[in-house]
Protein backbone atom coordinates (compact mmCIF):
# COMPACT_ATOMS: atom_id res chain seq x y z
CA UNK A 1 0.00 0.00 0.00
CA UNK A 2 1.15 3.54 -0.68
CA UNK A 3 2.30 5.83 2.12
CA UNK A 4 -0.83 7.89 1.58
CA UNK A 5 -2.83 4.93 2.83
CA UNK A 6 -0.98 5.19 6.14
CA UNK A 7 -1.10 8.92 6.85
CA UNK A 8 0.57 9.02 10.27
CA UNK A 9 4.37 8.94 10.32
CA UNK A 10 6.40 7.94 13.40
CA UNK A 11 10.18 8.29 13.46
CA UNK A 12 11.96 6.42 16.21
CA UNK A 13 14.82 8.73 17.17
CA UNK A 14 16.93 5.90 18.61
CA UNK A 15 16.69 3.36 15.83
CA UNK A 16 16.06 5.80 13.00
CA UNK A 17 13.20 3.60 11.89
CA UNK A 18 10.29 5.38 10.18
CA UNK A 19 6.93 3.65 10.32
CA UNK A 20 3.50 4.64 9.07
CA UNK A 21 0.16 4.00 10.69
CA UNK A 22 -3.45 4.24 9.58
CA UNK A 23 -4.89 5.90 12.66
CA UNK A 24 -4.01 8.27 15.48
CA UNK A 25 -4.97 5.50 17.88
CA UNK A 26 -2.18 3.31 16.55
CA UNK A 27 0.29 6.16 16.96
CA UNK A 28 -0.98 6.70 20.50
CA UNK A 29 -0.13 3.09 21.35
CA UNK A 30 3.46 3.57 20.18
CA UNK A 31 3.78 6.80 22.15
CA UNK A 32 2.22 5.27 25.24
CA UNK A 33 4.86 2.56 25.15
CA UNK A 34 7.54 5.29 25.07
CA UNK A 35 6.05 7.00 28.09
CA UNK A 36 5.65 3.78 30.03
CA UNK A 37 9.11 2.50 29.21
CA UNK A 38 11.46 5.38 28.44
CA UNK A 39 14.54 3.69 27.10
CA UNK A 40 17.39 5.58 28.71
CA UNK A 41 20.84 4.17 28.07
CA UNK A 42 22.04 1.48 30.42
CA UNK A 43 24.39 2.50 33.20
CA UNK A 44 27.88 0.96 33.09
CA UNK A 45 26.87 -1.47 35.86
CA UNK A 46 23.79 -2.49 33.88
CA UNK A 47 25.89 -2.94 30.75
CA UNK A 48 28.27 -5.26 32.60
CA UNK A 49 25.43 -7.32 34.05
CA UNK A 50 23.85 -7.57 30.59
CA UNK A 51 27.10 -8.79 29.04
CA UNK A 52 27.67 -11.35 31.76
CA UNK A 53 24.15 -12.70 31.78
CA UNK A 54 23.71 -12.80 28.00
CA UNK A 55 27.05 -14.41 27.15
CA UNK A 56 26.86 -18.15 26.47
CA UNK A 57 30.20 -18.92 28.14
CA UNK A 58 33.04 -17.33 30.09
CA UNK A 59 35.36 -16.81 27.13
CA UNK A 60 32.66 -15.01 25.18
CA UNK A 61 31.90 -12.88 28.22
CA UNK A 62 35.57 -11.95 28.55
CA UNK A 63 35.80 -10.94 24.92
CA UNK A 64 32.57 -8.94 25.02
CA UNK A 65 33.73 -7.21 28.21
CA UNK A 66 37.04 -6.29 26.58
CA UNK A 67 35.23 -4.97 23.51
CA UNK A 68 32.85 -2.96 25.65
CA UNK A 69 35.64 -1.41 27.72
CA UNK A 70 37.59 -0.55 24.59
CA UNK A 71 34.53 1.14 23.12
CA UNK A 72 33.95 3.44 26.06
CA UNK A 73 36.64 6.09 25.70
CA UNK A 74 37.83 7.80 23.73
CA UNK A 75 34.90 7.96 21.38
CA UNK A 76 36.73 10.19 18.92
CA UNK A 77 40.31 11.11 18.30
CA UNK A 78 40.66 14.32 16.33
CA UNK A 79 43.09 14.19 13.41
Amino acid sequence: MADADHPHLVINTRSGEARRFDTEQQVALVIAEDVANPKDPLTPAEEIVKILTESPDFETAKKRMADWVAAQQPVIELK
Binding site: V10, I11, T13, E24, D34, K39, P41, Q73, P74, K79
Partner: protein, 187 residues
Protein backbone atom coordinates in the same frame (compact mmCIF):
# COMPACT_ATOMS: atom_id res chain seq x y z
CA UNK B 1 46.19 16.47 25.25
CA UNK B 2 42.48 16.59 25.92
CA UNK B 3 40.49 19.61 25.01
CA UNK B 4 36.94 20.57 25.89
CA UNK B 5 34.24 22.61 24.25
CA UNK B 6 35.04 25.32 26.82
CA UNK B 7 38.80 25.38 26.36
CA UNK B 8 38.88 24.62 22.67
CA UNK B 9 40.37 21.81 20.60
CA UNK B 10 43.76 21.01 19.16
CA UNK B 11 45.10 18.32 16.87
CA UNK B 12 45.37 14.94 18.65
CA UNK B 13 42.94 15.95 21.40
CA UNK B 14 40.91 13.08 22.80
CA UNK B 15 37.19 13.74 23.04
CA UNK B 16 35.63 11.91 25.96
CA UNK B 17 32.10 10.57 25.77
CA UNK B 18 30.98 13.08 28.42
CA UNK B 19 32.45 16.01 26.53
CA UNK B 20 31.13 14.76 23.21
CA UNK B 21 27.60 14.65 24.65
CA UNK B 22 27.72 18.40 25.28
CA UNK B 23 27.43 19.04 21.57
CA UNK B 24 24.46 19.27 19.26
CA UNK B 25 23.39 16.42 17.03
CA UNK B 26 20.56 15.47 14.73
CA UNK B 27 18.42 12.71 16.25
CA UNK B 28 15.62 12.64 13.68
CA UNK B 29 14.87 13.92 10.21
CA UNK B 30 12.22 13.38 7.59
CA UNK B 31 11.22 14.77 4.22
CA UNK B 32 7.68 13.73 3.44
CA UNK B 33 7.36 11.66 0.30
CA UNK B 34 3.58 11.74 0.50
CA UNK B 35 0.92 13.84 2.19
CA UNK B 36 0.90 13.05 5.90
CA UNK B 37 -1.59 13.78 8.67
CA UNK B 38 0.93 13.79 11.53
CA UNK B 39 4.67 13.50 12.12
CA UNK B 40 5.87 12.02 15.39
CA UNK B 41 9.40 11.80 16.74
CA UNK B 42 9.30 9.01 19.32
CA UNK B 43 11.65 7.40 21.85
CA UNK B 44 13.51 10.64 22.58
CA UNK B 45 16.39 10.02 24.93
CA UNK B 46 16.19 11.95 28.20
CA UNK B 47 19.86 12.72 28.69
CA UNK B 48 20.14 15.97 26.73
CA UNK B 49 19.39 19.52 27.82
CA UNK B 50 17.23 20.98 25.08
CA UNK B 51 15.54 20.02 21.84
CA UNK B 52 15.48 22.12 18.70
CA UNK B 53 12.99 21.31 15.97
CA UNK B 54 13.42 22.82 12.51
CA UNK B 55 10.30 22.63 10.35
CA UNK B 56 9.67 23.65 6.74
CA UNK B 57 5.97 23.06 6.18
CA UNK B 58 3.11 23.26 3.75
CA UNK B 59 -0.38 21.83 4.12
CA UNK B 60 -3.23 20.94 1.77
CA UNK B 61 -5.85 23.40 2.96
CA UNK B 62 -7.18 26.16 0.66
CA UNK B 63 -5.56 29.07 2.51
CA UNK B 64 -2.39 31.13 2.05
CA UNK B 65 -1.06 30.05 5.42
CA UNK B 66 -2.30 28.66 8.70
CA UNK B 67 -0.99 27.40 12.01
CA UNK B 68 0.45 24.01 12.70
CA UNK B 69 0.58 22.46 16.14
CA UNK B 70 2.52 20.18 18.46
CA UNK B 71 1.69 17.64 21.11
CA UNK B 72 3.97 16.05 23.65
CA UNK B 73 3.85 12.38 24.64
CA UNK B 74 0.66 11.92 22.64
CA UNK B 75 -1.23 13.94 25.24
CA UNK B 76 -4.43 15.30 23.67
CA UNK B 77 -6.01 16.50 26.89
CA UNK B 78 -6.81 20.22 27.08
CA UNK B 79 -3.67 21.36 28.91
CA UNK B 80 -1.81 23.36 26.26
CA UNK B 81 -1.73 27.15 26.61
CA UNK B 82 -0.20 28.78 23.55
CA UNK B 83 0.02 32.03 21.63
CA UNK B 84 0.69 33.01 18.06
CA UNK B 85 1.59 36.58 17.24
CA UNK B 86 -0.20 36.31 13.88
CA UNK B 87 -3.67 36.39 15.34
CA UNK B 88 -2.55 37.70 18.73
CA UNK B 89 -4.84 35.07 20.18
CA UNK B 90 -3.95 33.21 23.33
CA UNK B 91 -5.30 29.68 23.05
CA UNK B 92 -5.97 28.43 26.55
CA UNK B 93 -6.67 24.84 27.42
CA UNK B 94 -6.05 23.64 23.90
CA UNK B 95 -5.67 19.99 23.02
CA UNK B 96 -2.53 20.95 21.09
CA UNK B 97 -0.21 23.95 21.12
CA UNK B 98 0.56 26.39 18.32
CA UNK B 99 4.08 25.66 17.08
CA UNK B 100 4.33 27.57 13.80
CA UNK B 101 2.63 28.31 10.51
CA UNK B 102 2.61 26.35 7.28
CA UNK B 103 2.02 27.60 3.78
CA UNK B 104 -1.38 26.47 2.48
CA UNK B 105 -2.58 25.20 -0.88
CA UNK B 106 -3.27 28.76 -2.07
CA UNK B 107 0.38 29.73 -1.68
CA UNK B 108 2.77 29.83 -4.63
CA UNK B 109 4.01 26.36 -5.53
CA UNK B 110 7.05 25.58 -3.44
CA UNK B 111 6.39 28.28 -0.83
CA UNK B 112 6.83 26.89 2.68
CA UNK B 113 6.48 28.01 6.28
CA UNK B 114 9.90 28.10 7.94
CA UNK B 115 10.00 27.69 11.73
CA UNK B 116 12.43 26.84 14.48
CA UNK B 117 11.08 25.54 17.77
CA UNK B 118 13.13 25.38 20.97
CA UNK B 119 12.02 23.10 23.82
CA UNK B 120 14.27 23.82 26.79
CA UNK B 121 14.93 21.34 29.60
CA UNK B 122 12.53 18.89 28.01
CA UNK B 123 13.49 15.92 30.18
CA UNK B 124 13.04 17.50 33.60
CA UNK B 125 10.26 16.37 35.86
CA UNK B 126 10.06 19.29 38.30
CA UNK B 127 8.46 21.92 36.07
CA UNK B 128 5.89 22.31 33.34
CA UNK B 129 7.30 22.31 29.80
CA UNK B 130 7.34 25.27 27.47
CA UNK B 131 8.42 25.99 23.92
CA UNK B 132 9.21 29.02 21.84
CA UNK B 133 9.05 29.17 18.08
CA UNK B 134 9.91 31.82 15.55
CA UNK B 135 9.51 31.84 11.81
CA UNK B 136 7.73 33.17 8.78
CA UNK B 137 5.65 32.32 5.76
CA UNK B 138 5.80 34.23 2.49
CA UNK B 139 2.92 32.67 0.53
CA UNK B 140 3.07 34.81 -2.62
CA UNK B 141 6.25 35.61 -4.51
CA UNK B 142 7.10 39.31 -4.50
CA UNK B 143 4.07 40.24 -2.42
CA UNK B 144 3.40 41.13 1.16
CA UNK B 145 -0.07 39.62 0.85
CA UNK B 146 -0.61 37.16 3.66
CA UNK B 147 3.06 37.42 4.64
CA UNK B 148 3.57 36.63 8.30
CA UNK B 149 6.46 36.86 10.68
CA UNK B 150 5.44 34.98 13.77
CA UNK B 151 6.31 34.00 17.27
CA UNK B 152 4.48 30.99 18.67
CA UNK B 153 5.04 30.24 22.31
CA UNK B 154 3.31 28.08 24.81
CA UNK B 155 3.38 25.59 27.60
CA UNK B 156 2.17 22.11 28.32
CA UNK B 157 0.76 21.89 31.84
CA UNK B 158 2.65 18.72 32.60
CA UNK B 159 5.82 18.03 34.53
CA UNK B 160 6.44 14.75 32.69
CA UNK B 161 9.63 14.31 30.73
CA UNK B 162 9.02 14.70 27.03
CA UNK B 163 9.67 11.46 25.16
CA UNK B 164 7.81 12.17 21.95
CA UNK B 165 6.74 15.16 19.86
CA UNK B 166 3.93 15.11 17.32
CA UNK B 167 3.42 17.78 14.66
CA UNK B 168 -0.10 18.32 13.34
CA UNK B 169 -1.53 20.61 10.65
CA UNK B 170 -4.63 22.67 11.45
CA UNK B 171 -6.58 20.17 9.34
CA UNK B 172 -5.90 17.77 6.53
CA UNK B 173 -2.31 16.85 5.76
CA UNK B 174 1.19 18.19 5.60
CA UNK B 175 2.12 18.20 1.94
CA UNK B 176 4.85 16.18 0.28
CA UNK B 177 8.16 18.00 0.71
CA UNK B 178 7.44 19.16 4.25
CA UNK B 179 10.58 18.57 6.28
CA UNK B 180 11.17 18.26 10.03
CA UNK B 181 14.54 17.80 11.71
CA UNK B 182 15.01 17.24 15.44
CA UNK B 183 18.25 18.19 17.19
CA UNK B 184 19.36 17.35 20.71
CA UNK B 185 21.57 19.83 22.55
CA UNK B 186 23.79 18.67 25.39
CA UNK B 187 24.39 20.14 28.85
Amino acid sequence: MSGTWATGWATNDIVTAAEFAKGVASIGDTILGSDTASITFSSILGTYAHLRLVVVARDDQAVAQEAFYLRFNGDSTAIYDSFTSVSAVFLTAGTRGTAGHAAGASATAGAMGVFEILIPYYAGTANQKGWQATGSVSPTDGSTASYINAQCNGKWRSTAAITSITLLPTAGNFKTGTRASLYAMGF
